[in-house]
């Protein structure tokens, strides 16, 4: 514990360097804008900037990427409260009460409540990250290939069993992601797979290009389809709003604690932020006596989902840096950034690059703290971004996406892939094929395959190696139970 605090102090001394603070602020501002704009989410905001980040020192680069993420988490609530448009999927639950409250003339107060809840969720998440990450990393050092594969099975099972969408389509999306990851050169034998003689396919599919297409263009298609007529509520955040907001937060500690804890817990499992915000809203509504106020601008209805969303967003960092398994598409892209720097996320990272890891953790503290004051001070200005006609913003987004897709590998073919992934993303979204597990499969594909092959070699071909006690067995059993959960719960209902 004491060692952790000492490490954190060392990290803070890195994160608080003037250059890193400047980068964090730039990242936060970009992130908030990205979070505010529909059609440009955290995942793509980070993906587009990856090529720029490569030119920086590793710690600074990752501070920039994660700051964009924190910014996007904050920014999403501005649009959902003032415009009734969730900028990010996890801020949907905020529109239920945030928008009604803003409409009744208390827009400033609604924003303050949301930001405060975010701040608390973030603090709980970061505390968990600071003190649990080293423990989990220490534990994960004992993992061999079989255990790593089992953890991945658990990750993907969580999408299938707890994801909420059709399990069949989830499995199909995951397998599709893995197949895409397998295209190109086989890392073990050097043979070319599924390239059919096309030179363009030899390099395989880059997941950053896929993210930009699926989440960037796909999201834009969805946005124009809905026809954008944005009518927002004008808001100013004054001292009175801050005072009132603080008072409300103090009056609903249960919503705050419930939201933060649900968020942090759900954030550990993949794709957690969105279900966490809905769950927190639901639980919160159940637990308060004034149920009928919910949906009409109840403060607790803003506090719980916001705290949960930010808590989940923050705690998603934990599996990424300790196990190398990102909890959300945005985290996957940040992890991609780490790998470009030659840093392999996972337990060894704590041993080999302690300064980097603690710099990152410290920047979570700094970034969330700064982000809070940025949104509080400038929320109206950020909201003004949405008042720009979408016909101006849309082509700029497409342009920036093209830059991002090209710059990943300096290949023109990737820009065409981006368009194809965009159409695919639109279709998948419409037909309820989940995108997040597909992207994760694409990211983790090589790692999963390598772990599987190594484990099989160790077990001399016997798949029983994946059920080896003491570590792999419980993880694998948990994975299987969660995977078949939809079937189990259907059977139990009968």
């Amino acid at each position: 514990m004491a060692g952790d605090i000492q490490n954190l102090m060392m990290g803070l001394s890195i994160a608080l360097q003037p250059y890193n603070i400047t980068v964090a602020i730039i990242g936060l501002v970009l992130g908030i804008i990205v979070g505010v704009l529909p059609g440009l989410g955290g995942a793509n905001g980070v993906a587009i900037l990856i090529p720029v980040v490569v030119t920086m020192p590793a710690t600074t680069g990752v501070i920039l990427l994660s700051s964009i993420y924190w910014g996007a988490l904050y920014g999403g609530s501005i649009t959902s409260i003032l415009f009734n448009i969730p900028g990010e999927p996890w801020s949907v639950a905020t529109t239920f009460d945030g928008y009604p409250m803003a409409k009744s003339g208390k827009a400033g107060k609604a924003l303050v409540i949301a930001f405060l809840a975010h701040g608390v969720g973030a603090v709980v998440g970061v505390i968990m990250l600071t003190f649990f990450a080293p423990i989990i990393a220490e534990f994960a050092l004992k993992f061999g290939p079989a255990e790593i594969f089992a953890v991945m099975m658990l990750t993907f099972s969580a999408f299938v069993g707890l994801g909420g969408t059709s399990p069949l389509k989830t499995v199909a999306a995951i397998l599709f992601g893995f197949i895409l990851a397998a295209v190109g050169m086989d890392i073990v034998s050097g043979q070319l797979r599924m390239t059919f003689g096309f030179v363009e396919l030899m390099g395989g599919f880059n997941f950053i290009v896929a993210v930009i297409g699926l989440f960037g263009l796909g999201e834009i298609f969805l946005t124009v389809e809905e026809g954008l007529n944005i009518e927002g509520i004008k808001a100013r955040v004054g001292l009175k709003d801050i005072r009132e907001g603080l008072a409300e937060i103090i009056r609903y500690p249960k919503a705050l604690i419930m939201g933060s804890l649900i968020g942090c817990w759900m954030g550990l499992k993949p794709g957690g932020a969105t279900p966490a915000s809905f769950m927190a809203y639901g639980f919160c509504k159940q637990s308060y006596s004034n149920k009928d106020e919910f949906g009409k601008g109840a403060p607790a209805g803003i506090i719980a989902p916001e705290a949960a969303a930010h808590g989940a967003g923050t705690s998603a960092t934990l599996p990424m840096i300790t196990l190398g398994i990102p909890g959300s598409p945005t985290m996957a892209v940040i992890m991609g950034g780490l790998m470009i720097f030659g840093l392999q996320p996972g337990p060894m990272l704590f041993k080999e690059h302690a300064d980097f890891v603690w710099g990152l953790i410290a920047s979570c503290w700094v970034g969330n703290f700064l982000g809070f004051f940025l949104v509080l001070g400038f929320a109206p200005i950020f909201a003004a971004v949405l008042r720009i006609r979408f016909a101006i913003i849309l082509p700029i987004i497409v342009y920036v996406c093209a830059i991002g897709a090209y710059a990943v590998n300096n290949r023109m073919i990737d820009v065409y892939w981006m368009i194809i992934f965009g159409v695919l993303g639109y279709l998948f979204k419409k037909l309820d094929y989940p995108l997040a597990p597909m992207v994760l499969a694409l990211v983790l594909g090589d790692m999963a395959e390598q772990a599987m092959r190594q484990a099989l070699i160790m077990g001399q071909g016997s798949p029983l190696i994946f059920f080896k006690p003491p570590l792999a067995l419980p993880i694998m059993i948990a994975a299987l139970i969660i995977f078949f959960w939809p079937l189990i719960s259907a059977w139990k209902r009968k």
Binding site: A172, I179, V224, I392, I396, Y406
Partner: protein, 158 residues
């Protein structure tokens, strides 16, 4: 909705079959050094084939019941989508010749004017300013080279 559902399921089915066929070529068994190259993709392919067939079966049953499902996109939504998709594709094709920034300037101007019906002044202002600032930011400050196309070098000589 059902048509799109069938289309995507067939697409996945085809991808699954491709994976299986190629894995058979590479060998999907146990080789000299453990699992062969096609080992992992083979099972992925089989899984994809099974999943997409099950989706197809489900859709077929719905179809037989005469349920068309809800529309894939709301009435008249295809036009704005194509208005994004086609100009964006054209922009990329033009990029092959004149480089990304010039292509993007044309694309921005076209989209704002033809689709957004935005005033000429704003259109010209934005479609010049944005590519110029991104050019300076990426190509000059961060030294991230962006596509120049066949003639880009001569078109932006500085």
């Amino acid at each position: 909705m059902l048509k799109a559902e069938i289309f995507v399921a067939f697409l996945l089915l085809a991808i699954g079959i491709i994976a299986v066929v190629d894995s058979v070529r590479l060998g999907f068994g146990w080789g000299m050094t453990g699992p062969e190259s096609g080992f992992f993709p083979f099972y992925l392919g089989i899984g994809t084939v099974i999943c997409s067939s099950l989706v197809l079966r489900k859709v077929y049953l719905l179809y037989k019941q005469g349920r068309a499902g809800k529309r894939l996109m709301p009435e008249g939504a295809l036009t704005p989508i194509l208005w994004v998709l086609i100009p964006a594709t054209v922009m990329i094709v033009i990029t092959e010749f004149v480089g990304l920034h010039i292509a993007a300037a044309l694309y921005l101007a076209f989209y704002m004017r033809a689709v957004g019906k935005i005033g000429w002044v704003t259109t010209i202002f934005v479609s010049l300013l944005v590519p110029m600032s991104l050019y300076i930011a990426f190509d000059k400050l961060f030294l991230v080279p962006l596509p120049q196309g066949l003639w880009g070098e001569r078109l932006i000589p500085f």
